[in-house]
Symmetry: C2
Subunit: 90 residues, 2 copies
Amino acid sequence: MNTLFKALNDPTRRAILELLRERPLTAGEIADHFTFSKPTISHHLDLLRQADLVNSDKQGQFVTYTLNMTVMDELLGWLLQFKPSSDSTP
Amino acid sequence: MNTLFKALNDPTRRAILELLRERPLTAGEIADHFTFSKPTISHHLDLLRQADLVNSDKQGQFVTYTLNMTVMDELLGWLLQFKPSSDSTP
DNA sequence: TTGTTATTTAGATAAATATCTAAATACTTC
DNA sequence: GAAGTATTTAGATATTTATCTAAATAACAA
């Protein structure tokens, strides 16, 4: 839970997740969407991987990142514990 | 969104939210659940208030804190954008 | 093998954060 | 008004974090 919230507590990392919502992307493609250096993006990807929010798959010299939303379900569960039982989830 | 994730990115603050799930509590009552100093808890409460996760209400010398979950809906919405449309929310 | 591209690792630095103690504020009661 | 209680503010400090540049690793291509 700690690593999950830590990973989500950064606008760049949340933007990366939103990018990956469209389709898997390589580290370089992700970096191209930002003005930060590649090492910086690599570090963000590392934190996302630590939180299990993304999977990485090396194909040749490229590393492709994909969303892994199973952990988000954990967050969803945490959230719903605050919902007063009457539910309005769409 | 930034202040929301920032507020949630701390185990003490999440524990405070879980305490308030039961019932409203005064700042002192909340502080009694932890070993941190009162100023530290006060600071955490301040961040929770900034994120609109709690409301504070001063009654005499006591300040009572209550959950305000309307912002959580924002988070819920953000989360659900990652859900692949087929839904499994309980 | 040599050069080129993709990505990560190492190390440094500035900014943000969690925590503390001491002091200030505000209310209550005598 | 003085003393006591509840809470917050101020200021300091140690840790964490986001970022950078330079270097390392790995794969491809010639």
